[in-house]
Symmetry: C2
């Protein structure tokens, strides 16, 4: 595979190589699933050092455009998984000490707009999934751990019903960061009835296609989260903890 | 560096290794800037194959927790750069064909909440930066390219003034995707006066600490974007294009 590298270009050669390969992938000339030539082949065909090839490949792996099967060396073109890449934001956010307040504010921005959009784009399958979530929530009123899981699912279902993949992927890392502390709130306060009422009102408004009402109830519901956090004497300006499962 | 690996654990060994290293970094035992032992050393000290070590290192590089200087092999612990990692979402979003409408809706969610938060957290330096942006906008009313740059800067300054690092980083990839099309709108429509008015109203509301007014003007301003897009006969449900600069 001979690539278009320019010795006059001021970009480092490995970046030129990464860019040329990226363009081939974005243009569809290299399709997801295609096997990449070996490092040594790419190096000799382009008259560059193997370590330069390796560095370009590393950059494209980090963008999710190249992928190896676990434990194997063979390299394939891949379609990056937006959700997986979005979840990679959890670690830097924790290391940079983002607070519960910052996370809450971001959810408070995204989820009401998602509820509004869901009401505009009413879809029978999404409504069935929401009804089913509410039925299971009613059956779990005395089980805080299960309620937290169902609440996470509810908010994800709203983002799916919004039919907006950008909002769906942007909310993943903040949802991962938000819920460990929410678990503390649910086990220490009796908030299950308020949670169920809010969920029911949101779904009803979506069914009616009443976007303003869906949005308003989502805002009330998220304000309740924040109040619960304060009532549980947790510090909203303290740094968020690393969620147990995200390290795996 | 001997790590705690468990042969009974069902996780693949490279994941156990990655997790053990990640925990050392998150706990602060390994500090950003620390030099990592060589692959061969990690392999022999833990009685595992060098390719297993390489795979664990690759996973941590993808999370931004390990880093090499360009063109060098030496590996260092690093604090992941949230902004850089957030921008990595641009490529998967484009490859998955997200639409202008999805991107617009996500900005429409984040920026009004950012304007509201900026009014709550009035800060003199941030207000000076916004005033300066408006002065330069006034001087660029006949230069659509410059106006687009200043508008991108304005929205980033609002996110900074909101003092919310989560919103700041989540909006980066969508801002990168949003503005190429906005450039088309600005050059084909005469929207500069409306843009300036909206920016001035938003900054005035922030100065007064009037969060509701700041939010409302931001919503009007973003609705104008969308209308402009439709007036320019662009298809809001068409896939977003890859921004020219993001490939570099």
């Amino acid at each position: 595979m001979k690539l278009n590298l320019d010795s006059e270009d001021e970009l480092p050669v490995f970046r030129q190589l990464a860019k040329a390969l990226q363009q081939k992938i974005l243009s569809g000339e290299l399709q997801p699933g295609a096997r990449m030539p070996a490092e040594t082949v790419l190096a000799s065909e382009n008259g560059i050092h193997r370590s330069t090839v390796r560095e370009a490949i590393r950059a494209l792996e980090q963008q999710g455009l190249l992928h190896r099967e676990e434990g194997k060396r063979k390299l394939f073109v891949s379609r990056p998984n937006t959700e997986e890449m979005s979840r990679r934001l959890v670690t830097p956010m924790v290391m940079n000490g983002v607070t519960f307040e910052e996370i809450w504010e971001a959810i408070r921005a995204l989820d009401p707009v998602a509820a509004e959009a869901a009401a505009h784009r009413r879809d029978i399958d999404n409504l069935k999934a929401l009804d089913d979530n509410i039925a299971r929530t009613k059956a779990a009123m005395d089980d805080p751990d299960e309620l937290v899981k169902l609440d996470i699912e509810f908010h994800e279902l709203i983002a799916v019903a919004a039919n907006n993949r950008v909002i769906q992927s942007l909310r993943l890392p903040i949802s991962d960061l938000f819920y460990p502390s929410f678990q503390t709130v649910m086990t220490s306060l009796n908030a299950s009835e308020r949670l169920l009422t809010a969920h029911e009102k949101i779904v009803q408004a979506i069914k009616w296609g009443d976007a303003a009402e869906a949005k308003e109830w989502m805002i009330k519901h998220l304000n309740d989260f924040r109040k619960g956090y304060e009532l549980a004497s947790l510090d909203i300006t303290g740094p968020a903890e690393f969620p147990a499962k995200a390290g795996e």
